[in-house]
């Protein structure tokens, strides 16, 4: 791409100088609030659920209620009060340090943007199952997908399978029940995800995890990778709130307090500070 700073080169920015062009919505004082073509105050408030509105804001599409209810159930599964879980622990540390709930919960949410768990796994796990289905449709047997795409050596590398702390995930059973109760049937991504799981369990004793289930299910619903990542940006907030509240109410420094010797020092022995200039 040529990047000469001609008038035409800067036109794309000049067009938006001082002006917001949106397909999302706006407040019109004295009139109403518009959201994706809906009158928010008359057409959405009291008529749709919080999670329907969340999906509308992220995707621009107002979903049927059962999909929003399913999403809400996954949020409950993604976050529970256990202060050992890393993002929750950060919320609790914020509580014990007198941080505001906004600061502490925000910090915990950032922590879960992780390669290991939480919303940080969305892109890679969605890519895996969507690519796996593409390969299946091009003729790859599931065994080959597992051997060539899901494991390296004897380690399961496919994000969406295996899980920190435990090789299996009890939340799958709960979410499968919710999906069935809501009238959803398994689509091709989820069917393949379960086929892959069965092989991984036989060969490596590792199962699908909640992220793998969610990404397969939502791929079957036609959502894209970035849409799913955006939907789940704050999904761990519930457990962080709980752990923050307990620690904040418990008093300063009372959450997992450390004596000086509770941190093991493995560094250099004590040494004198050089006089200014002596290291130069």
């Amino acid at each position: 791409m040529s990047s000469r700073t001609t008038e035409s080169a800067t036109e794309r920015w000049d067009r938006n100088r001082g002006i917001i062009r949106t397909r999302k919505g706006a407040w019109r004082p004295g009139d109403t609030v518009y959201s994706h073509g809906h009158d928010l105050l008359r057409g959405l408030v009291g008529h749709v659920t919080f999670f329907q509105n969340l999906i509308l804001n992220v995707t621009g599409r107002l979903p049927e209620k059962r999909l929003a209810d399913w999403l809400e159930a996954t949020f409950i599964c993604m976050s529970w009060p256990d202060a050992r879980i890393w993002c929750n622990q950060i919320g609790a540390l914020g509580g014990t340090a007198g941080v505001s709930p906004v600061g502490a919960v925000g910090a915990g949410i950032l922590a879960a943007d992780s390669r290991m768990y939480g919303p940080g796994t969305v892109r890679s796990s969605t890519r895996f199952i969507q690519e796996a289905l593409r390969l299946t449709r091009s003729g790859w047997p599931t065994e080959r997908i597992v051997r060539e795409k899901a494991v390296r050596g004897r380690r399961v590398v496919a994000v969406g399978y295996s899980r920190p702390l435990a090789p299996a995930d009890e939340r799958i059973v709960a979410m499968q029940r919710v999906a069935t109760d809501l009238g959803f049937s398994n689509g091709p991504h989820l069917e393949l995800a379960y086929e892959i799981e069965a092989l991984l369990w036989d060969w490596y004793n590792e199962s699908i995890n909640l992220a793998g289930y969610i990404m397969a299910f939502l791929s079957d619903q036609g959502l894209g990778i970035e849409e799913i990542y955006r939907l789940y940006a704050t999904c761990v907030n519930g457990g962080i709130h709980a752990c923050y509240a307990e620690a904040a109410d418990g008093g300063h420094d009372t959450f997992l307090p450390l004596r000086c010797t509770d941190v093991e020092y493995t560094g250099a022995p004590e040494r004198p500070v050089p006089e200014r200039g002596s290291v130069r």
Binding site: M1, S2, T5, V273, V279
Partner: protein, 269 residues
């Protein structure tokens, strides 16, 4: 087809550390309260002895590397930190801090807001990490050949490779001059030198260094790993973000633009 297995959930048999370990910092407990630190050591140096004898940039280097910087290291590191100290009032990170400040956000949140918005893949900390990895992989290769490959498979619309490309459709002259200056320093090494060649190979397309690439190359030449790059970039810029926030805090809400309805247009799909 239903799920084929119903595995029993058991916790893995992993052994976790009984206590955290660090080679950075030692806190010596006081005699009468094991929670109170009587003294603190940083990589073996007494904190109170360090204060007043070493400057902040030297302290940062000590924390990251374990040793006080040599004069050439300090020259390169300090020059880089100074050059990166303010992303400027048009960078989205700074604008975010200014918007938060003028809308009376709690001042303790100003830096976290700014540093989060400085974490992006577009002229942000994430690009620094990607650029360090790119430079590690490609330095030593032919710069022209690499440039041709990158143009065929660009990192982003405006960046053939992380840390290189354009800003607003033009090469960044400040970043280019900074790179040349750093490359000429004694501690400037292979990454800055290769980056200079790569930027020259991109020049016919009107592209060159971005500040993220300069930071990445300098930090590699200083021996820091990619996992440190984003944080150093954010640390340096924190000063400018803080200053812009402090300037805007206390000013009326009207001190920043807020487009009226005529300039907030709802467009159809």
């Amino acid at each position: 087809m239903a799920r084929r297995i119903d595995p029993q959930v058991r916790r893995r048999r992993e052994t976790f550390a009984e206590r955290p370990r660090t080679r950075l910092w030692c806190e010596v407990p006081s005699a009468d309260n094991p929670y109170v630190a009587e003294r603190a050591l940083c990589h073996g140096y007494d904190l109170e002895a360090l204060a007043g004898r070493v400057a902040f940039d030297e302290m940062v280097w000590l924390l990251l590397s374990g040793e006080l910087p040599t004069p050439p290291q300090r020259e390169l590191f300090g020059t880089l930190l100074t050059a990166l100290a303010n992303p400027g009032p048009r960078h989205p990170a700074t604008r975010g801090v200014m918007a938060a400040a003028v809308s009376k956000a709690d001042p303790v949140h100003l830096l976290p807001i700014g540093l989060s918005l400085l974490g992006g893949t577009h002229v942000g900390a994430a690009e620094v990490a990607h650029a360090m990895t790119f430079l590690q992989r490609h330095r030593g290769r032919d710069a022209d050949e690499t440039a041709a490959e990158c143009h065929a498979a660009p990192y982003a619309e405006d960046a053939p490779a992380p840390g290189f490309g354009t800003r607003y459709a033009a090469a960044d002259p400040i970043a280019a001059r900074l790179a040349s200056r750093l490359a000429a320093l004694e501690a400037g090494g292979e990454a800055l030198a290769w980056g200079e060649g790569f930027a020259a190979a991109l020049a016919p397309a009107g592209q060159g260094w971005r500040p993220t690439g300069v930071a990445a190359a300098a930090l590699l030449d200083l021996g820091l790993p990619p996992r440190c790059g984003p944080g150093v970039f954010q640390l340096a810029a924190a000063a400018g973000l803080l200053a812009h926030g402090a300037e805007m805090t206390g000013q009326p809400t009207t001190a920043m633009p807020l487009p009226d309805e005529e300039h907030h247009v709802i467009e159809d799909d």
